[in-house]
Structure formats: C-alpha cells, structure tokens
Subunit: 214 residues, 2 copies
Amino acid sequence: MRESAQVLAEVPTQLSPQELIGTLVEQGMLTDPASPRGRLLNAAARLFEQRGFARTTVRDLAAEVGILSGSIFHHFASKEQILCAVMKEVTIFASARMRSAAESAGCPQEKLRACIQSELEAIHEQAVPGFSILVMEWRSLSEESQEEVLQLREEYERIWLDAIVAAKCPGDDPALVRRLLVGALSHTYSWFEPRDRGLTIPELADRTFHIFTP
Amino acid sequence: MRESAQVLAEVPTQLSPQELIGTLVEQGMLTDPASPRGRLLNAAARLFEQRGFARTTVRDLAAEVGILSGSIFHHFASKEQILCAVMKEVTIFASARMRSAAESAGCPQEKLRACIQSELEAIHEQAVPGFSILVMEWRSLSEESQEEVLQLREEYERIWLDAIVAAKCPGDDPALVRRLLVGALSHTYSWFEPRDRGLTIPELADRTFHIFTP
DNA sequence: AACGCTACCAAGCAAGCGCTTGGTATTCAA
DNA sequence: TTGAATACCAAGCGCTTGCTTGGTAGCGTT
C-alpha cells in the first residue's frame, strides 16, 4: 500500500483502508467489522482463504471468534450463506479499492498498471482478506448465490475492461486479456511470497504489466 | 508408474492418444485403464474434476465403477492416495503429450504455440482427463504427496521453460512468464466452452500466444 | 483336489459434520 | 418495571464421512 505512493506521491486525498471501510460501513454497504456478524465474516474470510471452504468447519469458525458452533446460526442461515456473504463484502470492498486506484492514475498505461497492482495487493498482504476466495471457492457456491455475487462483480470488471481498452493491449480482445489476467493474477496466490526480499508487489505488477503490454 | 522410469520414457512422436497410453502402459508408467485400479483412477479423475475432491465421496466413486465403497480400499490405502495417484498419472501422460507436441514443432515460436495448445487441449476436450485437478486440488494433497507429484512435474516444466526461453517472450523472465501462463491457461477451465462455435482451442491458443509474444 | 491370489460384498463403526432446540444473561426503550 | 430484542450457551440430533472387518466367489497354478 504505502510503496505504491511513489506514483501518486502528491495526492493526499486517497483514503486509508480503515477510512475506506468506515465510509462503506456508513453507507450500509459493508457489515461493521466490530459487530458480531462482522467479526464472523472476517474470521471466515481468513479461514476459507487459508484452509479452503470445505476443510473449514463451523466449529473452527466459531472457535476463531470465541463462541460455540451453534451460535453461528443465530447470525447466518447456513454455512454456504456465510461464504456468500464473505464473497459479497469482499467484492464490494475490492471494487471501491480498485476504483480508487484506477481514478488516481494519470495516463491509460498507468491506469492498467494500477489495476494490476490493486488486484495483487488484494490477493496478497491482507489488503482485501479473502479476495482469492472469489476464484478458488467459486464452485462451492450454489447457483443462486453465484448470481448474487456476479451482479456485484459487474462494476469491478467494468473498471478492468475500461483500463485494458484504454491501454491498447495486443490481440485486440480486451475481454480475453482480462480473462487471462484473472487467472494469471489469482494464481500468484500459489507461488508468490510477499515476504520474499526478491520481488515486491509493485515490482511484480510492473513486470506483469510489461508482459501484457510490451 | 514408479518414479525411476521418468527419465527413461522414449515415446515416439505422432501417436494417437490411445497409442500413447498403450505405450506408457507397456513401459509400466501408467496403470492399465482396463484394470480395476485403472477404472477407479479414470472415474476419480472425472469426478474430482467435475465436483472437486472434497465434494466427491468414496461412495460416489465406487458407484461410478459399479462396486461398493469399502471395496475401494482393496486398491488404495486412503482417499488422498487416490488423488495422489490420479495426479501422478495425469502428470506422466500430460508430459508425454507435451513433449510430443513440442518436438513436432518447427521454429521456436511454433514450439511455444504448440505448448500452449497442448495444455489447453489437456484442460479441455478430455485430452487429459483430470488435468485441471493439478492446479485446483493442489492444496488437498498432503505435503509428502505434493513432493511426489512435484518431482514428476519437473520434466513437464522443463519443456515449457525451454519453449519460453527460445521464443523470447518480453520481460526477460521466463519463469515468471510460465507462472502467469499456468494461471491464465488453467483458469480457462472456468470460462472457456469448447463447444462454443465462437472460439476453438487452436484459435484460443493462437490468441493467447500473440498476447504473450507480440 | 488343494492352494493362493485377486476382487469384491455385507455390515457397520467411530468420528465428524451442519444444524436445531430450549433456555439464559444482558441491554435498553417504553 | 416490564417487555422485547440481541447474543450467546448447553446439549445433542440425524446424517454422512472415510475406513475396517470378516468373509466369499472365481480363477489359474501346482
């Protein structure tokens, strides 16, 4: 987060993650992370990301927030509804972050680079806890839940497509470029170690950008 | 089937899938698909790919080959060992296919394009049933099993790296290009429909190739 | 004929799963 | 002071899970 400031150094209007979350909570778009439901959602995002949805039990989740397993169903109708809620809130938060990143970019090239970096930050370094769940656990959702999340995702994907079109990637097929990028970026979850001193997220974003837009 | 045979595989090029499988079975690298164990592995590959490992029960698998669930453990020690065996055989088969494709290419550019197409064929259209499991269910494997599969995968990845180096992709980082390609290609499983009249696999391979090597 | 081997069945166990039920402590507005 | 709402506990139900056990039918070899 902080290192990305090199590009937009003199723009103090950017919101911090906490401020962004606060704004979204006030607008009623996100659950207050301090509420019982919010604490459950945050813990679920962490656990589903680490262990996977199927390998996380409601007892694991309950223990994580310090309650008993049955008490979970005072807040959610089913385990699948928890996954659905996590995906929705993650999508909303990631969209706001992505829009903020895209808007503060100067030229079209810089905009696409900012999108790539924003998604990498979402996947790694806890910028958006649970983001990788969107790809990895998609098939764990019922079709109705998939539809709900898909609608929320439209804004996110529109920002991406705009950036790709403007940056004029080769191949003349922005939708294909995006689809390849989704896979390429989300798969970094399996190999990229942000703690490595070898490669930082801005550097990885830069290299990826130059491979897709030479 | 055993790991020592990996280096010794001398498979002539231009074989049909059935002939290729037959050759590998004769060399003892693959389980005979007509044997009980082979039928179980094929069924497991299909089910794990369709429903995911966690959502496939041993009863599902047994029913698929027409036996009772307990009888499975006459052939495998555990459910996880089935997944491990599937991944090993898939890797061996995909490696042989990939090498055959790479060797029959003329120029370096054509070689990389052939690799891309070979992996796309493996993911889709049942050329290598269960190939996408290698990425999607990686975390369902124990660490010891991961190590076993990883060793078998080395040959496969060496072919890829050679092709990328020779094709001179932008960015001057062949390992990164491969890692982005792994994600990009495996993610096509979630959106590409080979039955669509809109885009065939060779066309998709071509477009992907031109995005990564403009 | 007796043996050993492979492939399987029939039955079920122990553990773990998501989820339900009935009740309690606390808070806060009326 | 009462009553409704919230957040949770305690206990456990019904079911599914991976896997085990003891036994058997068929088959090729000796």
